[in-house]
Symmetry: none
Subunit: 402 residues, 2 copies
Amino acid sequence: MDPLSLLRSLAVPNTTKILLLVLDGLGGLPLEEGGPTELEAAHTPNLDALAARGICGLSTPIAPGITPGSGPAHLALFGYDPLAYEIGRGVLEALGIGLELQPEDVAARGNFCTLDPQTGVILDRRAGRIPTEVCARLVEKLRAIRLPGVEVLVEPVQDYRFVLVLRGPGLADGLTETDPQRTGVPPLPVQPTRPEAAHTADLLNRWLRAAFTLLADEHPANGCTLRGMAKNPGLPPMPEVYGMRCAAIATYPMYRGLARLAGMEVLPTGSTVEDQVQTLRQHWEGYDFFFFHVKKTDSAGEDGDFARKVQVIEEVDRALPAILELHPDVVVVTGDHATPARWKAHSWHELPVLLWSHNVCPDGVTRFGERACMSGGLGHIRHLDILPLALACAGRLTKLGA
Amino acid sequence: MDPLSLLRSLAVPNTTKILLLVLDGLGGLPLEEGGPTELEAAHTPNLDALAARGICGLSTPIAPGITPGSGPAHLALFGYDPLAYEIGRGVLEALGIGLELQPEDVAARGNFCTLDPQTGVILDRRAGRIPTEVCARLVEKLRAIRLPGVEVLVEPVQDYRFVLVLRGPGLADGLTETDPQRTGVPPLPVQPTRPEAAHTADLLNRWLRAAFTLLADEHPANGCTLRGMAKNPGLPPMPEVYGMRCAAIATYPMYRGLARLAGMEVLPTGSTVEDQVQTLRQHWEGYDFFFFHVKKTDSAGEDGDFARKVQVIEEVDRALPAILELHPDVVVVTGDHATPARWKAHSWHELPVLLWSHNVCPDGVTRFGERACMSGGLGHIRHLDILPLALACAGRLTKLGA
């Protein structure tokens, strides 16, 4: 039995409340040998006190050595095997700009490119990285393209990137990309990798022909390519699987979109952690499970800004008492993945996880940090293990067998 | 997605160098209650210093309670799921005597046996354990046997054991063994377990009939049986999967053969650890991944010689500085499995693993030994996890998803 089916079969109702507090890119590394990580350097009296009363460990987002993107890492935190449920690039890109995808939509990531007007070969795969304003004007032009039987949405993203969504009946994924990944050759046609996708491939090729005509006089963006054509992965919705009312409090479109994919209601909220706490307070009675997402730890890590990442962690620590005043039954504090400031990028490292509830056996860890959590009572787990543990602590899983 | 496909899809080029230092049979047990293991008894200042700067843990070769042979244990270290890729006994036996197998070869392990001249039933499955010299003389006799369309290689191994290899087009595995595993019954015929193997079964049965004729006047080895007929398992070559130039520095034929199966280049080297370090130095620029295999820890363990195993470990420790002077980016030190001297045999125990690179979060372990590694930051991993971690530390794996 796959893990999700097992949990579904054991899920029972309860009135308990679970808070999943995700500090994006929480995990870190020492800047220099012998130094502290970002989390270790931060002054976190409230997280430390919670760690002392809870149980800690280190968690691997996907598998040892695998650096996850935000999509797979969050899927694992939400209890979905990220290797079984893939979120295509087109879908992620659409989520990232706040597009709400419907189940039958096919979304593609588009790149404007420069074609040789004579031969049609690609000269620049990113059209000289045109500014977003130019991208928006070109997208406006492309919105004129109509296709039979489906609605067509085109939205600018950033620089040379845009999103194309086909909406309507009979669409299928299983489509090859048109970017040949090199210059000197023409864009490829969309081809179906399975018979059901033939019609969608045909529609996309029609759209591309029309786009090339509309863009012919533009410079440098006189062409475009499509990548990562994908449908909504069709995750079994969390409320249905677990019988919980699930809400997301996240400020960035990508994470709001991921939460929506998992069936959560995405609450309107302000941009600061304080705003998010305020939203949590307002909606506390209305939901059983809250995904509370803090983005700025990751942004600081990506920027290589160790000190700012420390500050964001401390900001969350200061917000913790107000959260705990709501009396959640289970609190999980972790990250989706590590984003060490030293790396300025996501990494594969295990990251700290803290599980607090009245139903855990405290482990003697009194500090929430990478090294302290190494000897924590949770040991070394996978992100996929976290939600089942939280559900169990919340009295939301019954016994397997007799 | 299987782990190897996942890694293949994420592998990216880099100029970093990885050293996998395998002390065969490294893991041990205390000789008596309260005593140290072999590794704990050894004076290993250099390994300890590396442990202090790296991250340590314990690794299970295959699965809890499973004692591996050298084949499966090394496969796991090389990143191949040893339960998915089986190395047949015939292939291992051929590798063990240094036979280079070609992709289409079918290799079998042969046992000389004693047959009742009247009834043809087996009287002794090992022909009174004839000495190797007799085995060699009988093998010489068997080399006279020709088969249509294929080349036939016969090589003595030790005592009553030999290797038979058929080489040529159209050969297939999927063949039953002829050793009935008991006396009082005649050897079984080779039977195909799938249609493609019918021709190969026919060839082997012809060879066996001819062998029985040639051996009829011999005593006690007037017959033979064939076991473990197998082809090269066809491992996806490491250089192709990971985009790394891979080399093996190993002194024993079995390990050189295993490395060759994994697609490594097997470097000529001398018999001492010092010779092997010299080989490493000579070829340092030519490869990205080095499998450095030390056999004598295992031999000492198999002999039940605790003190000698300690000495071999100390010899490797003394060689470590010369290895580190080459500035590898990632160093892994571990064993393929445990061979406790107290056991005089392989065992299933977890064994220490040390991962050093600039990209790990050091864990405070300052001693490379079984007990110290129990609280290491790597926790309890599987051998299959080791290569992905090394690749990640070497910047040779890109992000999964976006």
